[in-house]
Symmetry: C2
Subunit: 610 residues, 2 copies
């Protein structure tokens, strides 16, 4: 068994019950009759149990069975079918995302629970979660007819869903896609012709139908992303009586991937026999040829971006927890500080403790960042005050690129540290680290590469609302520092570092402004990914300190002998380590960017032949 589930839910409970204002969310009309804060422990424990006992045992099938393609059909591991049905039936699946589902869990809660499940079999998770984005689009933008036709079976998991954007000739560059839509006599329905690749869950054999949210350009519409429209393209056309007819959606193959082998990544050809129809979502392109597709799809894409960060966090944390379990048993060497004690378990070695600490602190940082966004999702959707809803939407917009890119960038290095801590065993597939490393790499690429996220952050989010939204995100950090600076003994260094990082970050912004003013947009592109990382480091530094305020208080209340003391101590150590050993990279980045090294961008491409 290469896959091992080692998840600890204590931080999840801390986040939901002690850190986030979850009570505020639970009091919304949407939830107040169903859930109270006292239910959360039971729900979390239940999901942890399901993850370990139901989901995790299927992970190995993803590696061995993989996804098999035969006669135009993708086959996923048979054990995945059962788990999928079980989770949908037991209420842990798509139904939670229906605006009207009775007893749905708050978004803040279900999204935290999905992290716990994700670590148990990351290749399986997209089968469970991709329907949710389709539900959201149809709920938010679909006609009553579309809602009636598609929502019920999406919500109960009878049908799956996909986000169909990427094409062979256009990945990061969606505006250049070739898929076309042609009007029919029925204004609701278009004929669709095109080809899509890298479609997660694009074909599978465990659901009756697959509802593709398909981006295409209505013939004659404007070029670029603005000319795109979004279509509901079912694998099988759903007739009035509920029966299915073929809809000329062909799966022509699946990818053979480095990891996530049980996850179906399909190549689709639609309308090759002129037989594919799709329902347009919202209105057709206006008189200027401007469609609504990209705006609608962003709804789904933003959720997929949070999902990506969550998968990365889950897999990285699971690899770390497996590593520290191994480190308790494995005896090797003597500690530098006190060699005379003789041989010790490796979790007592300085470098191994460093590997654990950087994993612990960073995965907690990522989890906090994501959790904050889940909370904003609830406020955005269900707060009675429209200003609060708007406030939450803006917050969410600012943090989404960080949520997608930071965990998926860091995961690669962090899992390498977990793997390294095993010594040679880490490289063997019998141990869980290698599998995690293979899995995590895709997440820096899909749903918009991390460079796209960086450009989104700097080019769009920094300036959105004339810069007011991003400024208010930085203001949070500033306010936190002001609130604690002179009245939190023992944390002076950490607060000082946060302040230094905030100032450095503002320097980064000035430096980039200088690039733009002097026609050097290329330098912005060159440093974009590092700026995104610095942004996440600054903001996560604040989040971990915010958590440490609570944890430090609890430590005092409980005393050293309490069984929960080490958890709270660990929270404070995560914050200290992050602020002392990671946040300094914000000012290093500020310094590096000022060097404004144009070498790479000025280099003629010919030099790269050598």
């Amino acid at each position: 068994m290469s896959y091992k589930y080692a998840y600890n839910t204590r931080d999840t409970k801390f986040i939901l019950k002690e850190w986030l204002p979850t009570e505020e969310v639970l009091a919304y009309d949407r939830y107040k009759d169903y859930w109270g804060i006292e239910d959360l422990d039971v729900v979390i424990d239940q999901v942890r149990k399901i993850a370990e006992e139901v989901i995790a045992p299927t992970a190995e099938d993803g590696e061995t069975f993989g996804v098999q393609f035969k006669d135009g059909q993708a086959y996923i591991p048979p054990s995945f079918h059962k788990v999928y049905r079980f989770l949908q039936d037991q209420g842990w699946g798509t139904s939670n995302y229906g605006h009207q589902t009775e007893g749905a869990l708050p978004l803040t809660v279900i999204n935290m629970l999905v992290e716990i499940m994700s670590a148990a079999n990351p290749a399986f998770m997209p089968y469970l979660t991709t329907g949710q984005g389709v539900v959201d689009i149809i709920q938010d933008f679909g006609s009553q007819e579309l809602q009636d036709k598609f929502l019920p079976k999406l919500l109960d998991g009878t049908w799956g869903g996909t986000m169909s954007i990427t094409e062979p000739s256009s990945g990061s560059d969606a505006g250049d896609m070739q898929s076309r839509a042609f009007p029919t006599d029925d204004p609701r329905i278009f004929n669709i012709v095109g080809q899509k690749i890298f479609i997660t869950c694009g074909d599978r054999d465990d659901v009756e139908n697959i509802i593709h949210m398909y981006l295409a350009r209505v013939e004659g519409a404007a070029p670029g992303t603005k000319g795109l429209s979004l279509f509901v393209v079912p694998k099988y056309w759903v007739n009035e009586d509920g029966s299915y007819s073929p809809n000329d959606v062909q799966c022509i193959g699946v990818e053979h991937k480095m990891g996530l082998k049980g996850s179906s990544t399909a190549q689709l050809v639609v309308g090759e026999n002129k037989g594919c129809r799709g329902w347009i979502v919202g209105n057709p392109p206006d008189e200027n040829g401007v469609g609504q597709g990209m705006m609608q799809m962003f709804n789904m894409m933003n959720e997929a971006r949070l999902d990506t960060g969550r998968l990365s966090t889950a897999v990285t944390a699971n690899a770390y927890w497996n590593a520290k379990d191994y480190g308790k048993e494995r005896v090797q060497g003597r500690p530098l500080t006190n060699p005379k004690v003789g041989r010790v378990t490796i979790n007592q070695h300085e470098d191994v403790k460093r590997m654990y600490m950087v994993n612990k602190a960073t995965t907690e940082a990522c989890r906090a960042l994501l959790a904050k966004c889940y909370y904003y999702s609830d406020v955005k959707a269900y707060d009675p005050d429209p200003d609060r809803r708007k406030w939450a939407r803006n917050k969410l917009d600012m943090l989404t690129p960080l949520c997608k890119a930071y965990p998926s960038d860091e995961g690669w290095g962090l899992i390498a540290e977990s793997l390294q801590s095993y010594g040679g065993y880490g490289y063997c597939e019998e141990y869980p680290a290698a599998n995690a490393a293979r899995d995590v790499k895709i997440w820096s690429i899909w749903e918009g590469t991390n460079y796209i996220q960086s450009l989104d952050l700097i080019g769009r989010k920094w300036t959105q609302g004339k810069g007011a939204h991003f400024a208010s995100t930085l203001k949070e950090v500033e306010d936190f520092i002001a609130a604690h600076k002179d009245n939190w003994p023992g944390w002076e260094l950490e607060l000082n570092h946060l302040e230094k990082a905030l100032n450095a970050y503002r320097e980064i912004q000035m430096t980039v402004l200088g690039f733009m003013k002097t026609g050097q947009a290329g330098l912005m592109g060159l440093y974009a990914r590092r700026i995104l990382t610095a942004t996440a480091q600054l903001y996560c530094g604040y989040l971990l300190l915010d958590q440490a305020v609570i944890a430090a208080k609890r430590m005092q209340e409980l005393g050293e002998d309490h069984f929960d003391y080490n958890f709270y101590l660990g929270k404070t150590l995560s914050a200290r380590y992050y602020l002392r050993s990671i946040v300094p990279y914000v000012w290093y980045t500020a310094d590096l960017i000022k060097i404004a090294d144009r070498t790479a961008i000025d280099a003629p491409v010919e030099v790269f032949d050598y």
Copy 2:
């Protein structure tokens, strides 16, 4: 085909013909009758051709056939047998490492050639190279009898060899190994009992015999590494008449690895039936129970450490060259600096050029570092002046941990950048990046983990010869700065950075000295790996600038229209990028270490449960 060979040998030629004092080596008695500088182009071109046409086509067999274990025997891909025999017969193998082989290539040259071959099929390479270390040990420490008995068939590749150190209970901690040696009536021969794991080429079916260099403790010898002795333990005992008898060396399995699947990683049990004999190398333990084994084995291990850095460099460079080939063809998006030009090949995008540049500069840095060591190996072995030999040995000692750890640490991140540049295709096994990523990870672990290398650097190399040897390595950098500081127009910033980094590095040393003086050896351990990286960044910064001096001169001589101009331009850009964008991390590291964040090492291990 997931594996693709894309090697460019121009930098190899530059290093051998323009940068290193190869002429000095070629003038040694050992070589002067066989090779001249004018032969090098032909030799390099020939090896490049063999790598592409003979070696590379077998790489995929490593992935598909892997290493199969059946009835106590490891089977390697059949195509590997042929390539092995071809290379040994054609003179590209072990014979070059014999002190007396006629016409052997200089170490400086053959070692550069092996890099070119390594990129073609890294899983194959250990079959070719592990015999070399056995040859060295037997030449340097073996009796005439051992030399006569074992060298001829090792040198012609009839027999393979291994370094047998690691055991189930002792990896990084060799001193705790359990293997035992018991005297027999013949003082030359011991009975051996023990178990070894992770033995590269520990079993294979393409050679007649395998000569294990086996570390064990003679019964009653001192504990720890100092009590170990080294034994020649053949898989099959070689009788006086040259025939073979079983020697109770059993292969009980091979590892299933994340990458390098065609490379045999064997578990061995020896003497389980009391039938294993080994020849002791050198003398048995002295009256204090001190053996010579570890000192002898270090000979082989140091070479294996250079091999490791070379494999990492080769695989990383090959991944980069594949990526840049892909980037010439793939059209996607518009450049930030001039979007109006329309869609462009991705090699014109800022972030992609950054990915290429960091790969190009760092792999050239690693190649330069390794090449310098190959040159020192020749001086150490064959210079007529004993002082020069000693000087070279000291230099080699200082740089070996850097050669092992820096390329293998950086490879993981660099290949991730190459992989990222493909977009989704990078994650598909049909493209070469995923394979390279899976291959490279082991090299930060084997032959002494990179933490072990770091402790070797700081604990041993900094202080060796009362600190004089390492000081002389830093002096090289200082002298270079002094020689060029005021007379190299256009390179002021780079020289300034190198000087700033050198000063920062001395601060790092002072900070670590402070740790040790205050009983905080743990902090040294905590920062050790980052200090090793900073050491490599400083030293490689100097090496790349040293190369740039030559390249800048050639550019002036040749002019822009010369076909080789872009190569030299690229060399200068590598140096500029490295000095402007990578070397600053030396002073960032100095700053970070001064923070002396004890959080990770002071943390009770219990906090890592969360």
